[in-house]
Structure formats: structure tokens, C-alpha cells
Amino acid sequence: MSADAGPRGIAPQLARIVAEPYYQPIGDEVALFESAHRRRLPVLLKGPTGCGKTRFVEYMAWRLQRPLVTVACHDDLTTADLVGRYLIVGNETVWVDGPLTAAVRAGAICYLDEIVEARKDTTVVIHPLADARRILAVDKRGELVAAPADFMLVVSYNPGYQSVLKEIKPSTRQRFVALDFDYPEAAIEAGIVAAEGGVDAQTARRLVKLAELTRNLKGAGLDEGASTRLLVHAAQLIADGVQPATACTAAVARALTDDPEMTGTLDDLVHAVF
């Protein structure tokens, strides 16, 4: 049973990012990432949800002019989902590269989002890619794919989850250059919210103030405070003509919790700011 469509079978087409994604650098993360790319080192992005990790990777892919393959990890993700599998066409089998294999072959940036969500035995497949060997073993085809110089592996995770099950294994962790992400300082965050959400500076500052208040509640009824992403959502609603308090209630307060009492508190905080 050999593959029908050439020795590689079907390889998914990878697109490049054409337009510059909006990204506001906070520290030296751009230079570090570029350096890691030059030295062929994989990168681990740590930070709470909605603080700009994915946007950063998109921005870097654009900057480095590499295609970007993003895989959102989940707990049913199998090795085959990453590496590839045989499909059947007529009486023949055809090999289809998974996103990881496709990224390796194309010298793309492969971004595994929320890697802790994937099962630990699945993530082991990236180990030989993430050290000096830089190879991907495609067992089912008996193939070793060597990564070209441009290929880069990026993974992200949110250390805020307190669950012991959501920890990254040391053997995985210790292969990466780690970059810490957090919500930016108030002034910068307000700039981001204004730019992305299309609101004036004062509204953006108030939104950031609201986020700060909710972040004070982390661990006291909230798992996470409002992320920059939520603020941008609220800002976009406001820019579209929704009343600020209504926008914040919908995009921030309701998005953070289902608990009625907590919702009440968040409403109070929204009304304190707006």
C-alpha cells in the first residue's frame, strides 16, 4: 500500500501572514525570539490567557516571513493528529501529513497552543524536534524528517492553572527558551486597548482600571482576572456604540464567571469605573 500522491502523499498548503499583525512589544521578547530563531532554539511562552501570546507568535511569523501552523491542544489530541495518518482513497492508502510534519517540511513556525492540555504521551513526539537533533520521527512511514534551519517550534502554556494535572513535564520544559508574558503595565495596556478596540484614551484607561480591579479578585472567587483580550472585546463594543457599562458587563463581567454573587460584585466594579 504505497501513497498515491507522490512519496509524501498529501501535504497541506501553508499560508504566510501577509499583513502586519498589531503587536505592542513589552520588553525584549522580539529580540529574544529572533535570536532563538537564528540559533534554532524552541521557545516556550508562559502567561495568563488573553495576554497576547498568540498574537506575538503571529507577529513574529510575519516579521520572520515564515508560514505559521497553529495547533490548539486538547486532551484528545493524539500523536497521529500532530504527525499525520493514512487515509484511504479507493483501494489505496494515502499518507496525509499532520500539522507538525507539514510545518517541519515547510520550515514553518509550529505553534502548539496550551500544550499542557495535550496528553503527556502525545507531547513526547516533539522531544527530538526540540533539542539538538531537530528531527521528527514519522513512525508509520519509517521516515525521519530533518527540520530545515527555518523551522521553529513554539509552545505556550498558562501557569495560572492550579491543577496539578496541568503541569508541564520537566523533560519537555527543559528543552525550551522560556519567555514570560503577563498583562502589560497599565499605560501600555491602555494603548493596546485603544489601538485594537478603537476607543479614545480615556475609555481605554478606564477599561484597564476595571481589569486591574478584577485581577485583584483572582483566587478570591475568580480563577483569572479580565484579560487584555476581554478589554479589547469590550472596547470594540463601545466603539460600535454600545454603552460602556453595558459593554463591560457583557464582554467582561459575564465572560469571567457564572456565579451570581460574583456577577453582582463584578457589576459593582463595572459601575464603579463607568
Binding site: 472567587g221 464603579a272 469605573v273 463607568f274
Partner: protein, 697 residues
């Protein structure tokens, strides 16, 4: 209300006296209920029944309160409707729970005061109702933790905000709730924006100028309310607007203050300057219902203690950091403090120092109190280990504290079905270590039951989460060759081939944490206790095979002030010799106050990361405790409530009992299919592992 009387005939005095005697029997005073019964005779039957019901409820807590309720009832019913009467008794009982009999009696006797407050009652907001929401609101605002507590008048000592138990000064309940929020926010602002001074401003000496300190403090509080509202408005315009709407226009006396202090950058020193002008005149400060008072002594005392404590924490943390104090000869050098952008950063020789989170929080808090870091905390403390605070060290040695002070580890609320309300902090819970029992007991049981254990192990091995390969799936990681061959055959013969040509790997991951709650009440003495211990041995064998997270706790107690929980095996402990020794040490102790045990163990279970959580109770009877109160309905209802709370937390509960009458009350507690009644204690060891298998698959 349980007026279950068919007749509507009024009760006569002698009948009332008899009923009252029954209800108040527990009283030691043996007073005659004759006079009280005479008073009740003229009431309507339905009122009489209501009084008798609540006298009974009150007498369960304290017979004297029962007497008082019965005595005052005719007068109370003249003034209050049914709901009002109920609220009056409940307020008294609440005071009894919190403050004791004297306060409760005083509150009940002050019928006039209660009625006056009650007239606003539809509009009144109660602290207890808004406490949680308000506490979170304040936490959201604050950089530093600030507790909320009920107090006689609104003020803050800089660590706790005290608010009155009830507010009724506005005509609507919503208005009064807003008033709570406004008051709490302004009190928070006092701690946040320097009302109690900074390193540059000494409030104590500034206030010492005036002999009429009371008046000075009242003026100061009013001026601060003006200043803080504007300061708040800079960051929280919505909140400031709400406060402004609540207070209405400023009183005439404060108008000049509004002009002078109404700037976002106004500091406490401006208020103090203005205070001098106010004190020079002879006007009294206006009463501002939304502004709290200032208890300067309490605030400064708490503040000074905190500053000393936190300065020490920061000093010690800095001392242990690399290159500062830890390095020989570098001891004289103080680190540079950088305050840019509200962030506090330390550096030494240009190198950033990262403080541990506790010390960083302490430094931030010092900054809030003083506006700068006290120089003494930047001086090295010499070599020494890093200690967070004295208090935490004290908590480490909790064993001694337990035996000497008998301060409970936790207090839990208990549900009183008659009041349809919780009794706050009613049960005192102690975690008590079990002295290890016979080390050979478990080995001996295992030996005696070798065959059974082998069987249990084999059964549970089959349950272990293992991967299965499912064939003939529409999609999957591998091709199912059998299905493919078959499909090719079908196609060749003209039949429609199946599209299910793949294998898929199914992973069974067990994510279950089980908590076993073992009845150690006196009634388990003998056979039952033996059976419980043996069944725990079987269970441990089964669960070790299965690999589920599990914990075992015994419970017993003697009244609400001594609810004991005995850890046998905690979740993070292995099934080792120590655990085996504790299983052997399980013995019959006192009573079965189940609700508090369920609440405590639910909390422990909730902290487990597993997806499914199971609470299994091994018991020999209904909830019971010393004294008549818990026995019977009360205990059942409280236990039911505790199980409901557990259910809300995602904990599923199950009960295995050998009480043959269990079928009477267990369905009400656990639900129809959530319990097993064994007719013989000796079957327990055989059954428990089996029941668990049924539950956990």
C-alpha cells in the same frame, strides 16, 4: 410554621400552661408558666400556635429565651405581624449564637427598638445579606486585603472595615445597599489614600492640638469624606458619581471645604490645614450618613503594628537575598528602591533583586501606609533564615496550640431547620491525630482474608484505566486492515463498501478522588467497629490496585464545641505503616454530628484535582449528638443541608450503613439510589469494595 391543628378554637389558659410546660421543661428554674399562659389566652388560635412554635424553637437554644419570648409575645404581636414576630425571635436567637444569652435577652426586651427598626424593615439592608458581595468589591478595589465585619458604627482600623448590622436611613432597600457600598468604599479610601498619615504626616500630633478631640475627629471625618470622594473620582468616576448621588448636595458648612479640598491631588495635610479653620469657628460638623467615623486610636494602633511587622518581613527578605547581607563585607550597603510607574523594584549595584511574594506584598503595603519604605527595613538583619512572619511560625506548631487553648481549626455553620437559617460559626471543628494502634492488625486481617483480597485485586485490576483499540471507526489514527479488506471485497462484488475503515485508540483515564468518612461514634463499639476497620483494609487494597486518589477520615464528637475529625489517611499520604497503624486505631468514641464532618471533608475533597469526587460515609445510624437538640429532625435536616452543599460543590455522596432503620431517613438525606443498608455488620468488609466498584465505574 407548623400549625397542624384542625380546630380553630382558642386554647385555654390551662391547655397553654401544659403545652408551655412541655416546651420549657428543660429549664432549670422550674417557674410556673401560669402567668404566661394567662397572657397568651386572649390571642387568636393561629397566633397561639405561632407563639408556641417559636417558644419551642427558642427553648431549644436556651430555655430562658423561650420564657422571654412567651412572656413578651402578646405585646410583640400587638405591634408585629407574623413575619415581624418571626424576625424578632430570629434576631434574638442570632444574638444568642453570636454574643450569648445576655445580649439576646436585651435585644428581645427592646421590643420598641426592634419595632422602630422594623418599620423601615422593607427598606433596611442587612450587613449579613451583602457581606460577601461587598467583601469582594472591596477586595477588587484594594491593593491590600481588607476584612469586613459587623460593628456598632462604621469605621476602619486599617485592616478591617466595620459596618453596622443594619442600615435603614434611606427609604428603599436598594438605596440602603448602595449606602453600604458607599460607606465601605470611603472607609477603604481612608486606608488607601493616607487618612491615617504617612511618614511625612503624623496624624496623632496634628489632632492633639485640640482639646475637644471628639469634635475634631468628627470634623476630620467629614473633611476626609469630601477629599476622598474627589480622590476616588479620579480613578473610579462611576463610584464617585454614585456616592455623590446618595449624599445629595453637600451641607452648607462643607461648601468651603468642597472648594478647597475638591482636587484630585488633595492630601490629608490639606484636610488637616482646613480642619484648623473649622475648629477655629464654633460650627458643629454636619452629619454625613454615607461617611464613616474615624476611630483614630484603633487605626493607629493596628497600623503601627502592621508597619513594624512588615518592615521586619522586608528587612529579613532583603537580608537573605544574594549580595545583600548574605555577602561578607557588603552588609553596609542598602539596596536602591525604584518606584517608577507604581511598581516597586529593588536593585543592588544595578542588579534587580526579586523579593519573595510575601515580602513584595509587605513592601507594597508599607508604601501604602508610609509613602516610602522605612530606612530601617533596608538595613541588613545579619545572617539568618528568612521567616515570613512570627504569626506563620506560630501556626506551624499548631499541635500545642490545640491542646493548650482549644481554639478550633475551623468553625462551620450549621443549618437550623426551625429557623430556616444557618447558625454562623456554630460547630467547632478539631482535627485530632489518632495514636497509632496495633501495628500488626492490618497484616493479620490481610492474612485472614487472603483469598478475598486476591479476588478484589483481580476485579479492580480490570477497572484500571487502560487503552483500548476500537476497530471499524469512521476516523482514527490507523487503518483497520480487516475492515479495509472487507470493503475491497464488497466493492469487487458490487456491494456498498463500509466507510468505517479506521482504528481509534480510546483512553480510559480515571480521574476520581474518593473520601471515606468513617463513623467513630460510641454506638459502633464492638462488631461494627471491627467491621469498619476490616472493610477499610479491603478498600485500601482495592484502591491501591486501582490507583484512585483516596482519603479516609474518622469523625466523632461531643456537642457542637467539640467536633473531632481523625485523619486516617490523607490524600497525599501513601498506604504505609503509619496509615495501617491508624486504621487499627479506629475506635468507638462519642457522638455522630454528621453535618460538620461532611462540610469539612467536602472542603478537603474539593481541593482535589480529580474530575469526579465521591464522598462515601460508613455509618451505623442516624446523625446524633449529645443533648436533645441535634437528635432527630434537626440533625437529619442539617446533614441533608450539608450534603446539598457538597452536591453544589460537585461532590457526589453515598452512604453505606448497617442501621436497619436507615431506609426511613436515608432517602431524604442521600436520595433514593445513593445508599446501601446492610443488615449485618459482618457483611461490611465483603461489600464495601464491591459497592465502591459499582460507584466508580
Amino acid at each position: 410554621m407548623t400549625s397542624s391543628t384542625p380546630s380553630s378554637r382558642k386554647l385555654f389558659s390551662n391547655e397553654l400552661e401544659q403545652r408551655l410546660d412541655e416546651l420549657l421543661f428543660a429549664s432549670t428554674s422550674h417557674r410556673s408558666a401560669k402567668g404566661i399562659a394567662d397572657g397568651l389566652e386572649r390571642l387568636r388560635r393561629e397566633q397561639q400556635e405561632r407563639v408556641l412554635h417559636w417558644v419551642g424553637v427558642a427553648a431549644q437554644s436556651y430555655a430562658e429565651i423561650g420564657y422571654l419570648v412567651a412572656t413578651l409575645a402578646p405585646r410583640a404581636l400587638e405591634r408585629l405581624d407574623a413575619a415581624g414576630f418571626e424576625a424578632w425571635v430570629l434576631a434574638g436567637l442570632d444574638a444568642y449564637d453570636r454574643l450569648g444569652g445576655q445580649h439576646a435577652m436585651a435585644l428581645l426586651r427592646d421590643l420598641e427598638g426592634f419595632c422602630a427598626a422594623r418599620e423601615h424593615a422593607p427598606a433596611a439592608a442587612r450587613f449579613a445579606d451583602i457581606e460577601v458581595r461587598l467583601a469582594r468589591f472591596i477586595q477588587g478595589l484594594s491593593g491590600r486585603a481588607l476584612a469586613l465585619s459587623a460593628g456598632t458604627f462604621p469605621h476602619t482600623d486599617t485592616e478591617t472595615v466595620f459596618l453596622p448590622a443594619q442600615l435603614a436611613s434611606l427609604p428603599t432597600q436598594d438605596g440602603n445597599r448602595r449606602l453600604y457600598k458607599a460607606t465601605a468604599a470611603l472607609l477603604w479610601a481612608q486606608t488607601r489614600y493616607g487618612t491615617f498619615g504617612s511618614s511625612a504626616v503624623d496624624i496623632q500630633s496634628a489632632l492633639a492640638r485640640w482639646p475637644d478631640r471628639e469634635r475634631a475627629l468628627r470634623w476630620f471625618a467629614a473633611l476626609e469624606a469630601v477629599r476622598l470622594e474627589v480622590v476616588l473620582g479620579a480613578e473610579l468616576p462611576g463610584l464617585a458619581a454614585e456616592i455623590a448621588a446618595l449624599r445629595g448636595p453637600w451641607p452648607q458648612e462643607l461648601r468651603p471645604a468642597v472648594e478647597r479640598l475638591g482636587r484630585a491631588d488633595a492630601a490629608v495635610s490639606h484636610s488637616l490645614t482646613f480642619l484648623a479653620e473649622c475648629m477655629a469657628g464654633d460650627a458643629e460638623p454636619p452629619l454625613l450618613p454615607h461617611a464613616g467615623a474615624i476611630d483614630i486610636e484603633a487605626a493607629l494602633r493596628v497600623r503601627a503594628a502592621r508597619i513594624a511587622r512588615e518592615a521586619e518581613v522586608v528587612r529579613r527578605a532583603l537580608s537573605t537575598l544574594k549580595g545583600f547581607g548574605g555577602r561578607q563585607g557588603a552588609g553596609e550597603q542598602a539596596p536602591a528602591v525604584n518606584l517608577e510607574g507604581g511598581k516597586l523594584e529593588f536593585s543592588l549595584d544595578g542588579e534587580a533583586l526579586a523579593l519573595p511574594p510575601e515580602a513584595q506584598a509587605a513592601a507594597q503595603s508599607l508604601l501604602q501606609d508610609l509613602g516610602e519604605l522605612p530606612p530601617e527595613c533596608l538595613v541588613p538583619a545579619g545572617p539568618g533564615a528568612w521567616l515570613p512572619t512570627e504569626r506563620e511560625v506560630g501556626e506551624g506548631g499548631g499541635e500545642d496550640a490545640l491542646t493548650s487553648h482549644r481554639e478550633p481549626h475551623r468553625r462551620y455553620d450549621e443549618w437550623d431547620y426551625r429557623r430556616r437559617a444557618y447558625r454562623r460559626g456554630w460547630c467547632h471543628l478539631f482535627e485530632v491525630a489518632l495514636a497509632p494502634g496495633d501495628a500488626d492488625y492490618v497484616a493479620e486481617v490481610s492474612l485472614r482474608n487472603t483469598a478475598l483480597i486476591r479476588q478484589i485485586r483481580r476485579r479492580f485490576e480490570m477497572l484500571r484505566g487502560e487503552d483500548r483499540l476500537l476497530g471499524r471507526q469512521p476516523e482514527g489514527e490507523e487503518v483497520d486492515v480487516d475492515a479495509l479488506v472487507e470493503a475491497a471485497g464488497d466493492r469487487a462484488s458490487g456491494a456498498e463498501p463500509s466507510a468505517r475503515l479506521f482504528c481509534r485508540r480510546i483512553r480510559n483515564e480515571r480521574s476520581l478522588a474518593a473520601m471515606f468518612m468513617v463513623d467513630m461514634s460510641g454506638s459502633t463499639k464492638g462488631w461494627v467497629n471491627d467491621a469498619e476497620r476490616e472493610s477499610l483494609v479491603m478498600l485500601c487494597e482495592a484502591l491501591e490496585t486501582l490507583g484512585d486518589a483516596y482519603a479516609i477520615y474518622g469523625f466523632s464528637g461531643w456537642t457542637r464545641t467539640r467536633c473531632d475529625i481523625y485523619p486516617v489517611k490523607r490524600f497525599d499520604e501513601r498506604y504505609d505503616a503509619a496509615v495501617r497503624g491508624r486504621i487499627a486505631a479506629i475506635e468507638a468514641k462519642d457522638y455522630t454530628r454528621m453535618g460538620v464532618a461532611i462540610r469539612h471533608l467536602t472542603q478537603l475533597l474539593e481541593a482535589q484535582p480529580a474530575r469526579h469526587k465521591l464522598l462515601v460515609t460508613l455509618s451505623d445510624g442516624r446523625p446524633d449528638d449529645f443533648g436533645d437538640e441535634y437528635r432527630g429532625h434537626y440533625g437529619i435536616e442539617d446533614t441533608r443541608r450539608a450534603l446539598q452543599e457538597a452536591h453544589e460543590c460537585g461532590v457526589r455522596s453515598y452512604c453505606i450503613t448497617i442501621d436497619r432503620h436507615g431506609a426511613d431517613y436515608l432517602p431524604r438525606l442521600y436520595g433514593p439510589a445513593r445508599y446501601t443498608v446492610l443488615d449485618d455488620a459482618r457483611k461490611l468488609p465483603l461489600k464495601v469494595a464491591e459497592i465502591y466498584r459499582r460507584l466508580a465505574t
